[in-house]
């Protein structure tokens, strides 16, 4: 199965539209009638208390779940029920709330693995590690080294990621997603469990990715300060429903958002 061809989009166009999406697990309603859109080259934050359905939303977007009701259109095309790898090949990358790296591989190999779908040389050349296979390996290595420089993780290049501290693992995971050169990057709590300095670094990386490469980013984050600084628009979920949608300033002043967040420990 190939991802369908899409028209080229420019900044501000609707890249992804979520329309009346509901998602149920048996009796549990993870999402109810949620609609919002993500525009090309923006940073779109998704916030809400724990269990609000944020991760479920991302899972619908990248094809891991299929909405029970409603539809999701990506670049103007309604997404069919598809395996996640098709969504990935269509240009959607993500990181996970609980780091999901390939533990035994080095930082370098993890990010190289993110290039898998970009690599073309066939089995025969792979067998001999020669000709196109080696040429390609080096080309992609060069690309990966740029990501490594960008994320300032040169010193852990050859370290198996399982041995890295949590903050660095999150950074490697971002690198792996960037290696896919995604059009839409989904970040599920990329700063959870980080100290202030690490959060600042990560915020800087996210902003730079967005500005340098024009990558559209959907970001789940609990730290309101970070959300206000980074995002262009914010959608707020509570108990699987959308309760607010707008610029950070608008959302911050919304009474329902204040109620949802008041006195709630996150």
């Amino acid at each position: 199965m190939r991802a369908p061809d899409h028209p080229v989009m420019s900044k501000g166009d609707v890249l992804l539209a979520v329309e009346n999406v509901s998602l149920r697990f048996g009796g549990v309603k993870a999402l109810t009638d949620v609609s919002f859109d993500i525009r090309k080259s923006e940073i779109r934050a998704i916030i809400g208390p724990n269990g609000a359905g944020k991760t479920s939303m991302l899972n619908c977007i990248n094809g891991f779940y299929y909405p029970t009701e409603g539809r999701i259109t990506f670049k103007g095309v309604k997404r069919p029920k598809m395996r996640p790898y098709v969504a990935a090949r269509g240009g959607i990358a993500r990181t996970f709330q609980n780091v999901a790296l390939f533990k035994s591989m080095s930082t370098l190999d993890n990010i190289m693995a993110g290039r898998s779908i970009k690599m073309r040389s066939n089995f025969f050349w792979q067998l001999f590690r020669h000709g196109p296979a080696m040429k390609e390996e080096i080309e992609h290595r060069r690309f990966v080294e740029e990501i490594i420089d960008f994320l300032e993780i040169q010193h852990i290049r050859k370290t198996p990621v399982g041995r890295l501290p949590y903050g660095l693992q999150k950074r490697v995971e971002l690198g792996r997603a960037l290696a896919m050169e995604p059009e839409l990057l989904l970040l599920d709590e990329p700063m959870a469990g980080m100290n202030l300095e690490e959060k600042e670094d990560m915020s800087r990386f996210i902003l730079e990715v967005n500005q340098q490469y024009g990558t559209t980013i959907a970001l789940i984050e609990h730290d309101m300060g970070v959300v206000m600084d980074l995002s262009d628009r914010v959608v707020v979920l509570e108990y699987g429903r959308k309760i607010a949608d707008g610029t950070p300033a608008e959302v911050k002043g919304d009474q329902r958002v204040i109620d949802a967040y008041l006195g709630v420990a996150h």
Binding site: F102, M112, A113, Q126, M180
Partner: protein
């Protein structure tokens, strides 16, 4: 002092991506290969026939299973049967087309086990772990049944056994009763070196990374665009190819003839133990595992009686056999608990220590 990284700077990615970046490692490998060839000329028949040839054959089968279980994380109990497919395919091919050189048929036989392996790998998209192991167990029993029940596979030979016909390479017999252990060893050694090199290329490139990605975190792999079924089936096919060639070598270049029962479930477990003890996800570990499980009992069989005879204790072959099972069992439990990455990990740690010696780190 001799084993140092210092001064070996990599100035390009090609050099840094090399499989053996350290000069000492490359030298060491060269020396080992040379020594292995030299052994053909200085080793006696017993050493070549009873130790080296089987060691190489089992190493090859272990590499096969390691690709599937070690690298891709799919447990298989059908190794014996996949080896059998290679052996029977080789027999059919070389008796049907005696004019074509047998080396070609040995390599070709692997494709048959690869196809069968991929077929039995199909359930791996849906099932994992224990249940997949049970599915491969079904393959083991089904294929074994075929080996027994389909006389066509042995050309209606009444004994039901496979026998090695006389085959030559450049006029020298390399198979059959007239082939010396020396020539058979040289053929097996060359095939194993070649296939190990290819496997090493595969696991260090894109395909290897995809296999390990599936093993370490299959969901994340799929969300990165890696197709799970294709990747797993490729692992099944490549793995079974290696097992198939190993099976053909086992029957025709080691035993000289065999019946279906060399490909039974015991063989599957035997290879699995080698992979576990040697190190899951390590090619060199496959050799370590084969050496430990196959060669250790032979050494015991020679050393133990010699050591105990001065005390008037005689050790029979049956005692050695029992000891072998006990030792292998103890080793497996030891490695599963203490060092799940097997001998290969110990080797790694040893090398790391040597790099910084005499300092602790």
């Amino acid at each position: 002092m001799l084993y140092r990284e210092a001064g070996q700077f990599k100035t390009n990615y090609a050099a840094d991506s090399a499989i053996f970046p350290l000069r000492q490692d490359r030298l060491g490998l060269g020396v080992i290969i040379l020594a292995a060839y030299a052994l053909a000329f200085i080793g006696n028949s017993f050493l070549l026939q009873a130790v080296m040839i089987p060691f190489l054959v089992f190493s090859l089968a272990s590499i096969g299973l390691n690709i599937l279980t070690g690298y891709t994380g799919l447990l298989s109990l059908g190794t014996g049967a996949f080896m059998g497919v290679g052996a029977y395919a080789c027999y059919k091919l070389m008796t049907a087309f005696p004019g074509v050189n047998v080396i070609i048929w040995i390599f070709a036989s692997g494709f048959f086990s690869a196809a069968i392996g991929a077929l039995f790998g199909l359930p791996s998209l849906r099932i994992k772990g224990f249940y997949l192991a049970v599915a491969t167990l079904a393959a083991q029993f089904f294929l074994q049944w075929c080996f027994i029940r389909i006389p066509w596979l042995v050309n209606y030979n009444v004994s039901g056994a496979l026998d090695a016909p006389l085959r030559t390479l450049f006029g020298t017999p390399i198979m059959g009763p007239n082939a010396t252990p020396q020539t058979r060893y040289l053929v097996v050694l060359t095939i194993v070196i070649l296939l190990t090199w290819l496997a090493s290329n595969l696991v260090h490139g894109r395909i290897g990374r995809m296999w390990i990605a599936i093993r370490d975190m299959d969901l994340a792999a799929e969300l990165m665009g890696i197709r799970p079924l294709q990747t797993k089936l490729l692992a099944f096919a490549v793995s079974s190819y290696y097992c198939g060639v190993a099976g053909a070598l086992l029957v025709f270049l080691w035993y000289g003839g065999a019946e279906y029962d060399v490909f039974n479930i015991n063989q599957s477990f035997f290879i699995l133990f080698m992979v576990i003890i040697g190190g899951l996800g390590s090619l060199i570990g496959s050799f370590f595992g084969a050496a430990l499980i196959f060669i250790l009992p032979i050494v015991l069989g020679i050393v133990l009686p010699a050591m105990l005879s001065p005390f008037g204790i005689s050790v029979g072959a049956d005692v050695i056999e029992h000891l072998r099972f006990m030792i292998v069992g103890a080793l497996i439990i030891f490695f599963l608990i203490v060092e799940p990455h097997g001998l290969a990990r110990l080797w790694q740690i040893g090398k790391q220590k040597l790099l910084v010696w005499p300092f602790p780190y």
